[in-house]
Structures are given as C-alpha cells and as structure tokens.
C-alpha cells in the first residue's frame, strides 16, 4: 500500500481526516478520499475475515473479532500505518501468553487490557504522533 505521509495522496488523506473543510478548500477531493479510505478499510477487513474464517468455524458472530482491531490500531498509534504490525504482534503475544500462563477466559479481554494500559500511559500509541491527540 503506497499511502504514507511522504506521498501527496497520503498527505491529502491525513488533511481530509483532520479538518475536512480546510482540505476541501485546498483542492482535495474530500468525498473521494473518504470513499477511497472506506473502500481500502473494507477491502483489508474483508481479506482478514477470509483468512481468519478459513482457519475457524464460519459464523455470523465472527465479526466481534473486529473489535480487537481497535485495540491494535490504538496500541500502534492511530495515525501510524507502520505501527500496526508491531502492535498486532504485541497484542497477539499478550493474548497468547495470557491464555498459556493465565486463564483461557483472559483471551477475550487481554487486547482491551493492552488498550487500557496504552490509553493510560501513552494515549497516542507506540508510533503515533504526540501532537495530534485531542485531549481535554
């Protein structure tokens, strides 16, 4: 995926997300950007669903898995694409370790414990930009 903050597309997406009105006045097609980002997110999510479902029993409640994606995205930093992979490895490692050495019931909650810890100590995530966070 060639979207990054060094590429003009990536800068456009970032600015549309930050302040859509201003971005549209600088000639960025905000509706196009939103449509594209929804399409990319749905495509990647669908791909993940396909891979996951080929490994476990397929059922409608599979979608609950998607909630963990929030934990991963936030641990990596919401504005950092490259942070997703180390964050995913970290969250998965915590989950596996908690099941292996702790309690099987922990598997559902450990990604969210990672999320809570991250929110408490580093709300902008491992690789996110510190300034961009909106806080009270």
């Amino acid at each position: 995926m060639r979207i990054s903050t060094t590429n003009s597309n990536g800068v456009g997406i970032g600015s549309a997300g930050e302040r859509a009105l201003l971005a549209s006045q600088r000639g960025i097609n905000v509706h196009g950007v939103f449509a594209l980002s929804w399409a990319l997110a749905a495509f990647a999510g669908g791909l993940a669903g396909m891979i996951y479902a080929s490994n476990v029993r397929l059922e409608p409640s599979l979608g609950i898995l998607g909630l963990r994606a929030f934990a991963v995205a936030l641990v990596g930093g919401l504005d950092s694409l490259g942070g997703v992979i180390p964050a995913a490895l970290l969250v998965a490692a915590v989950e596996v370790a908690s099941v292996r050495y702790g309690n099987p019931l922990l598997s559902d909650v450990s990604p969210f414990l990672c999320l809570l810890v991250m929110l408490l100590i580093r709300p902008w995530g491992l690789f996110g930009t510190k300034e961009e966070l909106e806080r009270v």
Binding site: I64, L74, L105, V109, F112, L113, L115, L119, R135, V136
Partner: protein, 354 residues
C-alpha cells in the same frame, strides 16, 4: 394553551416550573396513566410482558441519554454497567443476602464506583479515545463476571429468587408490569427534572463546547464525573432489576450487541431528549416482535428461515436510515407532526413564541 401566533406567557413561578404545563397535556397524561393502569385488565400476558420489557429498556436508555445525549460523553460500555449491576446482585444472593433492601443500595454503590472509575479517564480522553476506553471497560467487566460465573462451579449462570420485602413477594407478570412501568415513570421524571436543572444545563454546555463551558464557570471535571456516576448508578440498578425480573443472570445476556442496542435506542429516539429515550426504547424493544409478526403474516412456512436475519438486517438498516434522514429521531418526527397541527394553516412558528 399555546395560542396560534401568540406568545406563551406564564404569570407565576409555579406555572413556570410546572412539569406539565397545559390542560391538553394534563389530559393526555391522565389518559396515558389510565391506559397503563387498566392494561392488565384488557391485554394478554404477552402484551404486558412486551410493555414491561420496553419499560425496563427505557430506564437504561434514559440513563445512557444523560451521559451521551446531555453530557456528550460517548459510552460503548453501557452493557458493562448493566452486567456489573446484575452480577453484584447475583454475588450477594449467592452469599445469602437476598433482601432487595440490601442488594439494591449495594448495587447502586458498585455502579457509582465503577462510573467514577470510568469517568476519571474521561477527564483526559475525548471522542474516539473515550469510546474505546469504555469499550475496554465493558470487556473487563464482562471478564470479571465470566470469571465469577466459572468460579461458581461450571454453572451456566446464577438463579435469583423473586425479591421479597417483609411479607411482600414480587412475582408474576402483572406485578412486574406495574413495578417496571412505575420505575420507568420515576426515571423519566428524574431525567426531565435533571435536564432542566443546573446540572442538566451544565452537561449540555459541556457537550456543546467544554472550553466555553469552563469559561462561564462550570466545573467541567465535576459535572463530567457526575454524569458518569448518575448514568452508571441508574444503569446498575437497572441491571439488578434485570436479574430479579428474569430470575437468572448469565454473562451471555450482556454482550456488545446490548450496548449497541442502547445506543440505537437513544439515536432512533432522538439524542438528548428524555421523551426520545423512552420512544426509542419502546421502538427497539418492539421491533423484533413486529418483524416476527410481519414475516409470519407474509409467509408462514418460510418464517423460521427468514426471521433471524431479517431482525438483524432491519435493525441495522433502520438505524442507518434514521442517521441519514432523521437525525432528530422519533422525537423530531413527533415535534414536526405536533407543530403541523398546532400551526395549521401556517407552516412556521411565529418568531417570538418558543
């Protein structure tokens, strides 16, 4: 009466403070109360059960409306608060404390502490971050509840005996109907009065712009926390009611979908309106039954295959349609209809009449 084209004037403080201010409204309210009182004589047990469920949902929706609709703090953890209340009651019942006079205050206390615990991060987190924090809280509470359920010896849940105060036992559809409707009415009056009091105005100011609210002298931290605590106490009490009403508590009843349902209630009803929360609760509660009846009416043979997907699909579709076409919710439709009749043959309100 609101006169056509005229202003709406009050001549005393009592009239200004009155909850129900016009004769028509008093008459309508009295008629509604009569219908609700007489319903057990007219309707079947199934209808009473539906109204009870809607009343129960209304209590939870009113509590969430204070937090999300008035104070503007998004919470995805409403089912977690419910679960905390239900499981506090279950834990006390397991230890032999069955009197609701003890369990309900204890549940309220646990709800308050939990609300404070979730509320304190809300002083530093906003928007998406707060939503994710409450989502995490939901999972932590559910984990604790699941752990408790597993510890209790491989049970699928806890059985709760009918609540007993002195010689009175709350049991049966009709008794629960009266209690739940009365409690929902109490929650509604509390919510309406809170909304028009100092706290309600402070919450709405924080929702609209917290910096501006702070600059006119509102203690933002205090009011944010009080919104969380109020909401979680009422929701935990609703959880205890749920436990007593169903007579059975299990983790499976408090999944993430329940939290989404409560958010749907206040959005479909109309964010920030107490009447909207009640309407939305009734709508979301009755929708699955309406779809059941509809599908069974259209094709009795195929009903069993289509009912389940139709419920989920219709729920999501309706929520999206409301967000797109009627962001003010059911209460917005109601206000438009009322104004159309009140103003006919004119189309707009006169400028000065509020």
């Amino acid at each position: 009466m609101r006169a056509r084209g005229g202003g709406y004037f009050t001549t005393s403080y009592e009239a200004d403070l009155a909850l129900v201010d016009t004769r028509l409204r008093r008459a309508a309210l009295a008629a509604l109360a009569l219908v609700l009182l007489g319903l057990p004589q007219l309707a079947s047990g199934f209808v009473l059960d539906l109204v009870s469920q809607a009343a129960f949902a209304a209590i939870g929706a009113l509590a969430l409306n204070v937090l999300t609709g008035l104070a503007g703090q998004i919470s995805l953890g409403h089912a977690g608060f419910l679960a905390a209340g239900a499981f506090t009651t279950a834990a006390l019942v397991e230890r032999g404390v069955v009197s609701p006079l003890v369990t309900l205050p204890a549940t309220a206390l646990v709800g308050g502490v939990l609300g404070l615990a979730v509320g304190i991060p809300s002083l530093r987190l906003k928007g998406l971050y707060l939503a994710l924090g409450t989502l995490a809280m939901h999972h932590v509470v559910l984990y604790a509840a699941g752990e408790m359920q597993a510890r209790a010896g491989g049970n699928t849940g806890f059985t709760i005996p009918a609540p007993r105060v002195g010689g009175l036992v709350l049991k049966g559809t009709v008794a629960w109907y009266y209690v739940l409707v009365a409690l929902a009415a109490l929650a509604l009056v509390l919510a309406v009065n809170l909304q028009r009091s100092r706290a309600g105005r402070a919450w709405m100011a924080i929702r609209d712009r917290d910096v501006a609210a702070a600059s006119v002298g509102i203690d933002v931290a205090r009011y944010k926390l009080s919104a969380f605590v109020w909401s979680s106490v009422v929701t935990a009490l609703a959880g205890a009611l749920f436990a007593y009403h169903r007579g059975f508590v299990s983790v499976e009843a408090f999944g993430f979908f329940v939290a989404v349902e409560y958010i749907a209630m206040i959005i479909i009803g109309g964010l920030g309106s107490a009447l909207g929360a009640v309407l939305g609760a009734a709508f979301v509660t009755l929708l699955p039954y309406a779809i059941d009846a509809l599908v069974a009416g259209v094709s009795p043979d195929a009903a069993q295959y289509y009912v389940f997907p139709a419920k989920f699909g219709a729920f999501g579709l309706l929520m999206a349609l409301f967000l797109l076409f009627e962001p003010l919710g059911l209460v917005g439709i109601w206000r438009r209809v009322r104004n159309w009749f009140a103003l006919w043959p004119f189309r707009h309100r006169p400028l000065r009449a509020s």
